[in-house]
């Protein structure tokens, strides 16, 4: 299969990239890792006249921490994300999600920003990012805006990105003292697998053993976009974390999911798996919260 013909642009700065994008005026796509875009172009599902590669824009490949928040450049690859100390230590849900995305080959190319803007319902990074309350930066020629990731994804393959805009970075607030996150994915095989269901969780505790002050539960692959389970979050908030509570939260999450029947699994099975995966991901979050606290005292 051949790629259709296109003009190729290779800016070296974000500013230059934004300027090129605003000047083209013809169908244009932004190329980051290419693991989604190039496949779709080969299949004829996308045929942009111009490709603006972000491969040389070095400022998009950096991760920076400023005490209050962690900023991940949009072109940091999924494999690089797994190597970041901060991610390993303080964002376990995201760390797990990055490890379960595709295969090593895909993780070496695919970028964090790409996994967001493609807005696949089964994508591995948006649920944990939303669970950690991520915001994103969108840059264009004459300005920039910041919005929450949760509001950004609108439907399968649909986001609120505007023509000329580039997703430049993802900002995660430093998780509070007593907090943790989790991510559980269910697929039929161990790698290169599109989730049947995935669940990301995060909660912050008042003190070492609770109660839960704030909780986020995000369900993937059971709706057109990642879904916040507000019912599960409500059940968790103000309660002390334990198995019974997690179980109740799982039941509630299943009520918020909108799974479909397809040839891979029935809606009924997916719904049951939402219960199970929510419980497991909450348990992971609690384990991480305990681990982070222990690490601080060490």
């Amino acid at each position: 299969m051949l790629l259709p013909k296109f003009e190729f642009h290779e800016p070296e700065t974000l500013k230059e990239a934004a300027a090129i994008l605003s000047g083209i005026g013809e169908p244009t796509s932004i190329l980051a890792g290419g693991t989604d875009l190039l496949v779709n172009m080969k299949k004829g599902k996308a045929s942009p006249r111009h490709l603006v590669s972000l491969g040389r824009v070095r400022e998009l490949k950096k991760t920076a921490r400023d005490g209050e928040s962690l900023r991940i450049g949009a072109c940091v690859t999924v494999a690089e994300l797994r190597e970041e100390r901060e991610i390993k230590d303080d964002f376990d849900g995201l760390f797990r999600g990055a490890g379960l995305l595709g295969s090593p080959l895909i993780r070496n190319l695919a970028t964090v920003g790409g996994n967001i803007v493609t807005a696949r319902p089964a994508a591995d990074l948006p649920p944990p990012l939303i669970a950690y309350g991520a915001t994103i930066e969108l840059v264009k020629d004459n300005g920039e805006r910041i919005l929450s990731l949760e509001d950004f994804i609108k439907g399968p393959g649909e986001t609120s990105i505007e023509p000329g805009e580039i997703l430049s970075g993802i900002i995660l607030r430093e998780p509070p003292l007593y907090s943790g996150g989790g991510y559980v994915k269910l697929g039929m095989r161990k790698a290169l697998e599109i989730s049947l269901v995935n669940v990301a969780t995060f909660f912050a505790l008042d003190g070492p053993s609770g109660p839960i002050q704030k909780a986020r539960v995000v369900l993937g692959s059971v709706g057109p976009t990642p879904i916040r389970s507000l019912r599960a979050e409500e059940i968790l908030t103000g309660e002390r974390p334990d198995e019974a509570l997690f179980e109740k939260a799982g039941e509630a999450a299943a009520n918020d999911a909108k799974p479909i029947d397809d040839f891979r699994a029935s809606a009924e099975y997916r719904s049951e798996m939402v219960k199970l995966l929510t419980r497991k991901a909450l348990k992971q979050a609690y384990e991480e919260a305990k681990l982070r606290e222990w690490r601080r005292w060490k």
Partner: protein, 742 residues
């Protein structure tokens, strides 16, 4: 024990270096300056009448050289490996999604693709049938003139009903299996060009000489004006014979005179290539109170899709193997092959046997449970021994290593430490066992292997065989057999393979027959060649009683090597041919009894699985595989076949499924059609049993297909042991296991 110089040694793979360094030129890699790119516009309907075909806009696309329909074909518009029921291009009617209608050639791939998209075909939809049971009803739409029941095959011995009425245990179940895709790395491809007056076609194929005959009819040429060269094969797993890109490229070359090339895209390959047949199997197993099999009754209904392809041969083999490697006096097996408007099924590794093995081995475990015997014991008391009669009434004279295979699997299983998951409360675990046998060579048909050799002074020995190498190591193995016979090594030979101009017809690369049949033909050719050279030596020495041993001619103390002897010939070229046709008898038309194969390979696999109590997810933790291959010619290749085959069996048992809805494939690509990844590879324990086959080269039989057969049934039995629930559908789907548990 006899000591060999190369047999039993894992010598360097003769085509290995070329492949790992990327220098191998596959059919789709051929380059010509004036090459035409070929595409085929296909039906998007499962069953329809063609009303009109509009080619005007396709013809006007710059770079398009030709756009043709059935009316423009140069020869016969009927093809097929067993029955000529398939059109090269459909003219009046399409019978499945993907049926070929319009042929396109262009100077660029881009132009060919645009032309393909701008072809407009007007259809009138016809009632279609997608279910084999419905297809048999009288009111069902007829897919071919001959009716929807394409073929029926029976095997009858003794009196099943009478025997069943006396059995202490009678177990009946219905099993369903799915379609699967071969998933070879190299999609189908072909390049054609004129070489002087000869139309030459390079394509990966199981049988170059078959393609030559078929192309002669389709191209309207004499077969001597066509040369078919088997290009390096990037995997075939039983497929790659018959109508394929090489045929379309050849038609374009015939029509235009220009070189032409076609490569299927992966999606096209998924939609158009044949699949493994889905079976509906009803099996009744009857045994006495000790668990000795008394009677087995099997009814097999097979959906072959819109065309016959290899279907009749596959059901023939399926029926012969339906009872498994057991001693049973009363048998009634019926197999029916039915046309539907579904994707076409055809030849795939295992050739109709993987399906029945699942039913047969599940039944054996159910019987074991009912009788209260363990899975090893129930098989041990029923499985075939040398000197006994199999289901088709053939006495197996020698090389029956099944009891040894069972013993090896049991010994290894007992020696393994517990798996960590056995004590993890999240999982249920269990071991499952399955055994199989598999006839080597075509079912009850003559299938001679032919090898030709020639030598002349100072030159390499030339070995010509009409088969290709599908990656399994056929070339290396055949050269080992030749080397051992003549006391030479790999580098002393020049191998010519699967080329209708330069090699003999050695039959098709199917039925696990290359090592056994063609290998034995190589041995025969070597004997003839050594004899001819020996005559010259004897004449030179003026002696009568010359002995050829260990690559040397001996007479008393005089000794000369084969190579030296050849080099003393003056301006002389010696030729020799070896033929081996395994002794078989056709099966009886009424009873299906006979001696369909000269020899059988045997195997036992045990699989240990874990089942997630909450999700139903099954993971295979360990596979123990023991195979009686007669004699290992190349151990690394045998182990490679066993591991690769078992992984294919694992995919069959757990993951792979071509989902078809109203004749359309819903998952025509590797994104949604899941084959095992490297992460699914379990811990392997392999033990090879060498129970020599007297008619095989150095005692060898075959291993290509036997390697995959016991894996899926072993997984079924393991899941049943772990969960206490038998699942009668293949693959064992995660959700079905979850349902069984909850």
């Amino acid at each position: 024990m006899r000591v060999y110089t190369t047999i039993g040694q894992s010598v360097t793979k003769v085509d290995g270096r070329e492949k790992v360094t990327g220098r191998t030129v596959y059919a789709g890699d051929e380059v010509f300056p004036d090459l035409l790119y070929v595409k085929v516009a296909r039906s998007d309907r499962p069953h329809a009448e063609i009303l009109e075909i509009d080619l005007s806009s396709a013809k006007n696309i710059p770079g398009v050289v030709g756009v043709w329909t059935a009316h423009d074909l140069p020869g016969a518009n009927a093809t097929g490996t067993r029955i000529k029921d398939e059109s090269v291009l459909c003219s009046k009617r399409v019978r499945r999604v993907g049926d070929p209608v319009v042929l396109i050639a262009a100077k660029s791939l881009r132009a060919a693709n645009s032309a393909k998209e701008s072809v407009s075909i007007g259809y009138r939809d016809l009632p279609a049938v997608f279910d084999p049971e419905e297809a048999l009803r009288p009111e069902a739409p007829r897919i071919h003139e001959s009716g929807n029941l394409l073929f029926e095959k029976k095997m009858i011995k003794g009196d099943v009903e009478a025997a069943l009425s006396k059995c202490a245990y009678v177990i009946t179940n219905t099993y369903r299996t799915q379609r699967i895709e071969h998933s070879y790395l190299e999609p189908e491809a072909g390049t054609a060009y004129m070489d002087g007056k000869k139309l030459t076609v390079k394509l990966p194929t199981k049988h170059a000489h078959f393609e030559q005959d078929e192309l002669a009819k389709i191209l309207g040429l004499d077969r001597k004006d066509i040369r078919v060269i088997c290009a390096p094969i990037g995997g075939y797993f039983g497929d790659k014979q018959g109508l394929s890109p090489g045929y379309y490229a050849a038609i374009v070359t015939r029509l235009t005179g220009f070189p032409a090339q076609m490569v299927y895209e992966r999606r096209e390959s998924f939609e158009v290539s044949t699949k493994r047949h889905p079976y509906i199997i009803q099996m009744t197993t009857g045994a006495d109170k000790e668990g000795h099999l008394e009677a087995v009754k099997v009814d097999i209904l097979v959906d072959t899709g819109a065309y016959a392809s290899y279907g009749p041969s596959i059901i023939g083999r399926g029926v012969v193997h339906a009872v498994g490697p057991y001693r049973v006096k009363n048998i009634h097996v019926k197999g029916r092959l039915v046309y539907t408007n579904n994707p076409v099924c055809g030849s795939m590794r295992g050739f109709g046997v993987p399906q029945v093995a699942i039913a047969c081995e599940s039944q054996m475990d159910l019987l074991a449970e009912a009788v209260g015997k363990d899975p090893f014991e129930i098989r041990r008391i029923n499985c075939l021994q040398a000197g006994e009669e199999n289901a088709s009434g053939q006495t197996l004279k020698a090389s029956v290593g099944l009891t040894e295979c069972l013993g090896e699997v049991e010994r290894i299983q007992e020696s393994l430490p517990p798996h960590p998951r056995e004590i993890d409360p999240q999982y249920l675990t269990g071991w499952g066992l399955a055994i199989i046998y598999y006839g080597i060579g075509l079912t009850g048909l003559p299938n001679p292997g032919v090898a030709q050799m020639s030598v002349e002074p100072g030159e390499k020995v030339q070995l010509c065989v009409g088969v290709g190498d599908g990656g399994q190591g056929a070339f290396t193995t055949l050269l080992q057999i030749a080397s051992e016979n003549l006391g030479l090594s790999q580098g002393d030979f020049n191998l010519l393979s699967a080329d209708t101009l330069t090699t003999p017809n050695s039959g098709t690369s199917t039925a696990s027959r290359i090592t056994y049949v063609v290998g034995r033909a190589v041995t025969e050719a070597c004997h003839h060649l050594a004899g001819q050279v020996g005559k010259k030596v004897a004449a030179n020495w003026g002696v009568m009683d010359l002995v050829f041993e260990d690559g040397h001619y001996h007479c008393g103390v005089r000794k000369i090597s084969f190579r030296e002897a050849v080099d003393t010939l003056v301006n002389e070229k010696l030729l020799a041919e070896g033929i081996f046709d395994p002794p078989t008898t056709p099966t009886d038309k009424e009873t299906g009894l006979g001696s369909p194969y000269a020899t059988y390979a045997f195997a036992a696999h045990a699989a240990q699985v874990s089942v997630d109590r909450e999700t139903g997810q099954v993971n295979v933790l360990r596979i123990i595989a023991s195979h009686d291959v007669g004699k290992m010619i190349h151990p690394v290749h045998v182990y490679g076949q066993v591991q690769g085959g078992a992984m294919m069996g694992l995919g069959y048992g757990l993951l792979e499924n071509v989902i078809v809805k109203k004749g359309r494939i819903l998952n025509p690509g590797f994104r949604a059609y899941l084959i095992p990844s490297s992460m699914e590879v379990p811990e392997f324990h392999i033990s090879v049993v060498e129970c020599p086959e007297p008619t095989g080269p150095y005692g060898a039989k075959g291993v290509g297909e036997p390697s995959l057969l016991p894996t899926a049934p072993a997984i079924h039995n393991a899941v049943a042991r772990a969960t206490g629930q038998y699942l009668f559908d293949n693959p064992v789907a995660m959700e079905d296991v979850w349902r069984a548990l909850s």
